[in-house]
Symmetry: C2
Subunit: 463 residues, 2 copies
């Protein structure tokens, strides 16, 4: 197991509060983490004091409410601050990592950050993403009864919105190395917001992967009663260790309860709710399998790639000169000029319905978006079409306007998710010759294109 | 009732086919509309011959398959074309509009185009959008037993991707005039792809509307067995004539069958599937009501605005200098410069999760997207935050990066749909002073912001 790094300690107990507030806290013997009541006028706010972050307002008190959210309260001399009985027992945050047992299947755990690897730091305030993977284990001793860890690494501690192709390459490289060293499976801890983009990236960067590579994360932080990360991680570890499936996948709650997780293909999954624990839905496919709280796996898809011997040969290159354009009524054709002028190599359009862009000029300049798209194609830019409906398939033949768009050289990408299409395009442009790009984009490499439509699965992944 | 315009006839029976194909058709006595079989090698294609459009390949035969889709088949001398028994009975397309009965509630029908107002023209080929609203009535004599028509107008015959603010103004103006003339309700026939954008636009352009204004359309064209437009139109007409509800709404299939339609608020509805008849889901709310095939209405929402006396005072202005930006990993900060340089007045960000943009620079130029957003705000551009999860609520306080984004002046728009936020912003910027924009955008005007979250309704609108 990798050596646990020492954690950084806060340089200041109270963080960025101003001197007035610091002296009031000190005189009331209130420390960050203490339960306080703030009275102003007829209002009471009740929660745990947080230290102020460096970006916060020094004259506002940050309080963590019981529902898990932080609020800031601008205060002056007239506001009463009252310390309530009890303070947070910092002892319970002490880390005791269980010992590994012999003879258990070995998996590899890679941390990237995100809510699953974050917690409220009662010394420094706010949700922090500095938790080492081992710290998560402290609350999951049962995991050590089922699996052992070939390696545990924290690759980064970044929020998911800050992960992009440089990080995908690192994740894919470390996963490939672990697989080629013989690990049974890889679990990646990841922020949920862009998990679908990263799982798509690794789906292409690890072609024909021989073992499970499972992304998991948490929608609620570990200090909340509704923390979902523990069940997600246990389920992901069981899949990595035991499932007869070889794919890059996402393992997240299948319902609002801790009763089962869905295992979605990395190319066919999307976060469809900001906060629900069952936010991740498989789109245009069935989930590959689900796994219940006892670890029982149910295969839901007849077309599962199986575990096999052999190494993975990662293809890590990625062309960042790609963009996703969501169409809306009145979108200005100039936007295409921007991408042409900036030297982009590929564009994914999130069109309306079956794959439309405006062809009638609603603007005074008498230029329509369709002609701007054609101009991009004529400049040698790959343009792929997906749908903002997300569910269903684009189709160039039903309407005259889609036929014209198709004849302009836009490639219709079947039932591929727009986000997956973007990532696949960045990867394809960097790994294949120009003349092969349209063919690769139109071929199913990692489940991103389904040969048939799964009508019954429309927005309803539950059992 | 408005006078029916004469239809244009095709200048050529076969359209754009080359002379070789025209002469082969003539020698085989095959006309567009006839059922043919094309044999090449071991393949057979079976369907109705379509005339070739002016954009089509003159050497490819276009055949309408039984499933309703058109395909093009490149042919040469070796391909066999066989005429099958029977040809299309053009008589059945003759229009016989029923007569209106007296004493029935009067509604107003406005056509804008779209699939509901389109059909396969067996003389000219392809799906055409030239059907007058009265032509739809020909197949719906039962409608004339329940409602009368104060007015029937075809405002445009445009595909929905070609409708934008100039057309919204016309729709809203005609709706307001009809309402102020005393109609019981308005039904708008509209293409489905951008119906949610248009329904949002009219929700704001017709403030505090006193009667139902109901958008409806079709996912399948009227020549297909699965045509959904008839049931949608009957249901919409019943809502317009009889429902005790005053709102701009969308009436579309609630299931794959013709058993009921859902009535969604115009600001809370989204097309979530490219082809399904039940593609329209109410997002972050319950449907207002549903209506079954017998016309029985079930109210599903406790907070319905009721019919009332009085006129509507339309607010038709719209600022086209607004844009919707969907965030993805690695999105270039330069994109914000484009909008700043082009003089945009407002931007809606479709952020990740609870409302994030990248704050960590993955690019070599060492500029991050968050700072680019702040630059736009500093230039006086309104920037609003929504989520690409679509379901759920954005929240600026949970994470450090959202707090910083919020402190930069970005307004978090609760559970408003990104598309609705875009339309509301264009409308707000044109109708209110700059200093009021943030307040108006944060206030619930037409159901676009819910005060509480509807957890149970997540992607599951069925009964």
């Amino acid at each position: 197991m990798a050596k646990k790094k020492s954690k950084k300690t806060s340089t200041s107990l109270y963080g960025n509060y101003n001197d007035m507030l610091k002296s009031r806290f000190e005189s009331l013997k209130i420390q960050p983490g203490d339960h306080i009541v703030i009275k102003y006028g007829e209002k009471n706010i009740d929660g745990n004091l947080m230290a102020q972050t460096e970006m916060g307002d020094p004259s506002s008190i940050v309080v963590k409410l019981d529902n898990g959210y932080n609020i800031g309260i601008k205060v002056d001399e007239t506001v009463h601050i009252i310390k309530k009985a009890g303070s947070v027992d910092l002892e319970k945050f002490q880390i005791r990592v269980p010992k590994q047992k012999k003879g258990l299947p070995g998996i590899t755990l890679l941390g990237t950050g995100g809510t699953i690897a974050s917690r409220i730091d009662y010394k420094t305030g706010g949700v922090v993403m500095a938790m080492e993977p081992e710290e998560i284990f402290a609350s999951l001793p049962e995991l050590f009864e089922e699996v052992s860890f070939d390696d545990v690494k924290s690759l980064f501690t970044l929020a998911s919105e800050d992960l992009a192709s440089p990080q995908w390459k690192v994740m894919a490289k470390h996963s490939a190395d672990a697989i080629n060293d013989g690990t049974r499976g890889v679990v990646l801890l990841h922020g949920t917001d862009t998990m679908g983009y990263s799982s798509a990236a690794l789906s292409f960067m690890l072609p024909d992967v021989p073992v499970p590579v499972v992304f998991t994360g948490a929608q609620r932080s570990s200090d909340r009663g509704s923390f979902d990360g523990a069940f997600n991680l246990i389920s992901a570890a069981r899949i990595a260790a035991n499932a007869d499936i070889a794919s890059v996948m996402v393992c997240m709650h299948g319902s609002s309860n801790d009763d089962y997780c869905n295992i979605s293909r990395g190319t066919k999954v999307r976060k469809m709710h900001t906060t629900r624990r069952d936010a991740f839905l498989t789109i245009n496919d069935t989930p590959m399998m689900n796994i219940d709280y006892q670890g029982i796996m149910n295969e839901l898809n007849n077309d599962l790639p199986r575990r096999k011997k052999g190494n993975v040969d990662p293809k890590l290159e990625y062309d960042e000169k790609v963009a996703l354009i969501k169409i809306y009524p009145g979108i200005a054709p100039d936007l295409m000029d921007y991408y042409i002028d900036k030297g982009y190599h590929g564009l994914i359009i999130e069109g309306t319905g079956l794959g439309h862009v405006p062809s009638f000029p609603p603007k005074e300049d008498n230029r329509d978006f369709l002609h701007a798209v054609k101009r991009a194609v004529d400049e040698g830019i790959f343009v792929g079409m997906t749908s903002q409906c997300l569910n269903g398939r684009v189709h160039p033949y039903v309407y005259r306007s889609t036929r014209i768009t198709y004849q302009s050289g836009v490639i219709y990408l079947e039932d591929m998710l727009p986000e997956t299409a973007l990532i696949k395009l960045g990867w394809t442009l960097a790994n294949y010759e120009d003349k092969s790009v349209a063919k690769i984009m139109s071929s199913n490499l990692a489940g991103e294109i389904s040969s048939r439509s799964y009508y019954q699965e429309y927005m309803r992944n539950e059992i």
